[in-house]
C-alpha cells in the first residue's frame, strides 16, 4: 500500500529521513519512502499492510498528515522511471 503524506515544501527529504529513523525504532511496518522531485510538498510511504497514522512514528517535524486514500502501484511507476530532462527536449 502506498500513502501520500503532506510535508513542508523543501523539507521532503529531511522529513523522509526523520520518518525512516522513527520507523527503524518502532514496530510500524514501512518498507520504503519515496520522494519524487516532481511532487513538491509530498512524500510517498510504502507499507505492506494498513498502518495506524496516529502512531507516534509519524510525529515528525514538518510532516503534515496523510492524504485520504491509497495510491496505486501503477501511478507510482511513473515516478520510478523519470524522463531525463534533456531527452524530452526535441532536437531542432
Amino acid at each position: 500500500m502506498i500513502y501520500a503524506f503532506r510535508t513542508l515544501v523543501g523539507q521532503e527529504k529531511n522529513v523522509a529521513r526523520l520518518l525512516a529513523r522513527n520507523v527503524r525504532n518502532s514496530d510500524i511496518d514501512v518498507t520504503s519512502i519515496l520522494v519524487p522531485d516532481t511532487l513538491k510538498g509530498y512524500i510517498l510511504v510504502e507499507t505492506p499492510s494498513k498502518v495506524d497514522m496516529q502512531d507516534p512514528a509519524f510525529k515528525v517535524p514538518n510532516l503534515r498528515g496523510s492524504v485520504e486514500g491509497e495510491i496505486s502501484f501503477e501511478e507510482i511507476k511513473t515516478f520510478l522511471n523519470p524522463e531525463p530532462v534533456l531527452a524530452s527536449v526535441k532536437k531542432g
Binding site: 521532503e12 527529504k13 523522509a16 529521513r17 525512516a20 520507523v23 527503524r24 511496518d29 514501512v30 518498507t31 520504503s32 519512502i33 519515496l34 520522494v35 519524487p36 522531485d37 510504502e46 505492506p48 502501484f73 507510482i76 511507476k77 515516478f79 520510478l80 523519470p82 531525463p84
Partner: protein, 60 residues
Amino acid sequence: MVTKACTRCHRLMEEERCAICNIPSSKNWSGFLIVLDPENSGIAQELNINLPGEYALRVR
C-alpha cells in the same frame, strides 16, 4: 558535504566511489528513495534494489 549517487546501483553516498560497484559516483542525480525493507518493498523490487539505504531515482 556533497551527496553523490552511484551511476550503476543509484546508492547515495558522500564518497567519490561506490564501495559496492567500485565505480565513480556522480553529483548529478534526482529523486530520492529510502529503502527500509527491500524484501517486502514493491518499489525496491521494481528498481532491483536489494539492500536497505538511500537511493537516487535518476543518476547521470
